[in-house]
Symmetry: C2
Subunit: 339 residues, 2 copies
């Protein structure tokens, strides 16, 4: 089978690619070829795999060519992140809405030319939910909570969920939208996501750096480790249409934790000195965005697919440490403590 | 003030234009100029009004010019209808999604050039609601029922609701989405809407013609007369932002009636011979679409704006007869009975 992963050079995309290449199969089929598109090249271990072809550049510049290239499966993960989309409205429309529309139309062109409909997993986001004066946000957002996005990013994700559902209804794709929770701990440096600090307050202290938490310790949020997130994307791909149940998006499992719980877990795993590198400095812009986010999420449909949230946040912290220990950057990433 | 009505040559658009020109004001401001865009010219009485400028052609061909033209208010009614969008997927995307996006971007360009944000009423539709295996459709769809559209038309309307909300949040427009119920009785000939027969089973018998009802007499549906629909659009425009309440779409009031109730009303107003011109001939394509529609709707937010549904379906039939009596086509439209 031939797979396409958009955003395949990114953190979640590369991890998904690595896992699929290691297992060698998806939904019982052997993976013969994997195309990774992204604005930056994927990590070198992926480039070294003979099955992988990396295509670097904006997705929107690549979709015309995709109209005559057939794929068995697609993971559509490419996206501008929430903070970027708030700062640059055009960027969000182009990277999230126009690119998804062009990708769907490329897949449709394949079907209209006589090809089979590709199975498509789309990474939507818990950011589709938000409070509106007419739609109070429940404490825990469920699969069937009414979305009322409060960011352009959330709006674009929701819009793409519905386009995906309609292209699926028409038989142009076999699409499944899965709402990712906030994924932590992300390696590397802070990015433009308003949720970036959820990783930063774990990652920076472990590296021996100070970290700023821009929101109150009482802020609660639905989180997921990278490994559980990738588990979710694969399970959603492998589910039968019936098991996926309908065409509306589902929530991936979340660990609903407060910032203070996250830091307690950090302290339990890495010690008090590490935790004390985090300082609270309120940032009204970030707090304003995060204040409109869900405090927690449930994932009834994903659970029926056998998916579970992380056991606790300490497991999430340990997963990050273990990932770092396997990477060449381990010494700097974990400079802040000794195991 | 200067107004734009897209779809201003259509049935609802022309009726709205006529009403606004007669009253001369909207939201307390004098109407100085009204631009009507549509693929066909508006009725001659509208063209004869010095305040009216008609622009004939596809909306998408006109949006570039709108980027440097400012409007105080916009009623965005232009749309391909449900049956057309099912038959021609590209047409629906272009006429409903791309055109709305281009209109919103034209209004945004005005604001980015220093202009004021236009107030925009968008005609969404009860077709945003539908049953999905994961989202059972309630008997009565409310303002906050989770939409799960089962047609491309409904999908495109829902997508535009959310784009409108985000452009509003960003301050590019002051947008309000109102979900129209099925409007009956429409004059003229059947159109491509799957709901077209709801008008046909009243209109054709009154004109002395046979009419086919493609669904069971037990089918129930949320309906609204043209006059009440226009009332709704005007009230949504005139509402304060606070009274509109949030940025999510609201339902306009519906009279929830069964097909048999509609024909009972026709008989009560026009006699048994008229009713007997309706024959039931099931059409699986139409019945399949209609079977996925809401059986009824509530409109709590619209009621708080003072809006009410029609008193009963006989009033809807009488409104149609009175409209015909005022029109030059009265003799043929009402050839089938004597009052």
């Amino acid at each position: 089978m031939k797979l396409l992963i958009t955003g395949g050079g990114g953190f979640v995309g590369a991890r998904l690619a690595r896992r699929l290449l290691q297992s060698g199969t998806l939904a019982g089929q052997r993976i013969d070829a994997m195309v990774l598109t992204d604005i930056a090249p994927p990590p070198s271990d992926l480039l070294a795999d003979a099955r992988v072809e990396a295509r670097t550049g904006a997705l929107l510049s690549q979709t015309d060519a995709l109209r005559t290239e057939s794929f068995d499966g697609v993971f559509h993960l490419a996206s501008a992140v929430s903070g970027e989309c708030e700062a640059d409205f055009e960027l969000g429309l182009r990277s999230n809405l126009d690119s998804t529309r062009a990708l769907l139309d490329a897949l449709r062109a394949n079907v209209e030319a006589g090809g089979r409909a590709a199975r498509v997993v789309f990474s939507s986001s818990v950011a589709v939910f938000g409070p509106d004066p007419a739609v109070p946000l429940p404490k825990i957002v469920a699969d069937d909570t009414l979305p009322a996005p409060q960011t352009s990013y959330g709006t674009q994700k929701l819009v793409c969920e519905h386009l995906l559902a309609d292209y699926t209804r028409k038989g142009y794709i076999d699409g499944r939208a899965a709402r990712l929770m906030t994924v932590a701990v992300r390696p590397g440096r802070p990015n433009g996501a308003a949720s970036s600090f959820f990783s930063g307050i774990i990652r920076e202290p472990l590296a021996g750096l100070e970290s700023i938490c821009p929101v109150s310790p009482e802020v609660s949020h639905p989180m997921s480790s990278p490994a559980r997130t990738v588990d979710g994307l694969v399970a959603v791909y492998e589910a039968s249409r019936e098991a996926f149940c309908g065409r509306t998006a589902l929530n991936l499992p979340a660990l609903n934790v407060r910032v203070s719980d996250m830091l307690d877990a950090l302290e339990a795993v890495a010690g008090r000195a590490v935790r004390e590198r985090v300082r609270y400095v309120p940032d009204p812009m970030v707090a304003g965005i995060v204040g409109n986010w869900a405090r927690g999420a449930s994932a009834e449909r994903a659970q029926r697919l056998g998916l579970k949230p992380d056991a606790d946040f300490a497991a999430v912290v340990r997963q990050y440490i273990e990932d770092c220990e396997r990477s060449p950057a381990a010494s700097s990433a974990l400079a802040g403590f000794s195991t």
